[in-house]
Chain length 270, copies 2
Amino acid sequence: MSTLPIGVFDSGIGGLTVLKALMARLPAENFVYLGDTARLPYGTKTAGTVERYALQAVDELTRRGVKAVVIACNTASAAALPALEAAHPDLPVIGVIEPGAQAAVAATNSGRIAVLATEGTVRGGAYQREILKRLPGARVTAVPATLFVALAEEGWIHGEVVTATARRYLAPLLEHAETAPDVLVLGCTHFPPLAGVIQQVAGPMRIVDSAVTTADALAQLLSVRGLATAAADSGAVHCLVTDGEERFVRVGPVFLGRAIAPAEVERVDL
Amino acid sequence: MSTLPIGVFDSGIGGLTVLKALMARLPAENFVYLGDTARLPYGTKTAGTVERYALQAVDELTRRGVKAVVIACNTASAAALPALEAAHPDLPVIGVIEPGAQAAVAATNSGRIAVLATEGTVRGGAYQREILKRLPGARVTAVPATLFVALAEEGWIHGEVVTATARRYLAPLLEHAETAPDVLVLGCTHFPPLAGVIQQVAGPMRIVDSAVTTADALAQLLSVRGLATAAADSGAVHCLVTDGEERFVRVGPVFLGRAIAPAEVERVDL
């Protein structure tokens, strides 16, 4: 069991930022990454549809054999975790929102926390709930920032357009310095490549990205359940996509931080 | 037969710009609009996937009864028209690319034509082919402008971000004034709401949008086949979406140019 790979599911390409953190934290593990590129983006879809797609994706991963699954997509974590746990009671499944909320609460001094996310994640309110569960009295402001997804996918991660977009999304947060949040959560896996520009615009706010905390949570879970691999020779990644292998190979490196070989990518139908 | 509505199919919301032109040109007709909002955008998907989705959508429209279908999506027109015609030999089906190419050829003096479109439409090369068929020797430059889709859907149709984005996409076209195109085709139905800003940046280029020419082509087709309605009382629109009725009602007016009532929108599964 411990030699099986870890499944990582995302709506498309952005979850590669989470995979990057998982590989850095757990270099001995193997990974199967499934990106539902045919149906992305999830951020503008309703919760019921996202739940249905996530169930299909995790079915595919379990058919191939995985020892745990990371839902590396904020929208799917918010919409589908309970259904996934119910459908796979013996499979360890973790999302990115609880680790993100935990990191935000650890980082804030003022208790004023801003979350940048997709429309779907904001509307679902999962970050707000998870933060308040850990820090009652926190003031959470969630800002839908859908365009950042398209910008990251276009590879426009700095320059005039990104800066102007960040200024427009962050303006309401920066209006009153005395009540500005001190922590800004990147609540979408597409956003980390834009973190440099977002930090410039956000000034003194501390940026929190859930990928690292999620990797810590997974490491702990594997260790507790006795599922960590004992192999030394590993670190392999196999990627499954529901459409556009060529685009995945071309755009993915922005998120994964290294080149992706065509042979690492396989097309699947869900 | 002539009293049946006209089916209009799009990947999501952008095709409402085409529906707007159809309603203006054919005020006595009724329309059924099907937007595949669960699976948009089509512009970054491969041709095979888009063809499969388009076949499912037109099956749904024909099940409900339509006398003709307009493929109000450039990506789907480019990828799926031959398959749709083969699957429905008796149904008049028209796309937006041939009318757009015709309008571009009519508008150019220099024979240098630029096309702004999605990645999928540019890669497929359908505009290039249809323009060259009508004007051999034309110099066609196709520019993928994916971000415009997200900007229009966000309702950001003027301001700093759109202007900076347009400048970045159009820069290669404007570099040498003496070889700049004199016509710029908006080869995606999401782009017409941004036409004002695009025109400012594009300077003397003449902007061509295929919606009006498509409406003319449909009017002619209905008349030739004896399918134009004789009713005076009509102009009704029924909208089918595969996800996000609430979002459709909220974002749609940017494209349709009028409010959309929740009662006009129905959810369907394809």
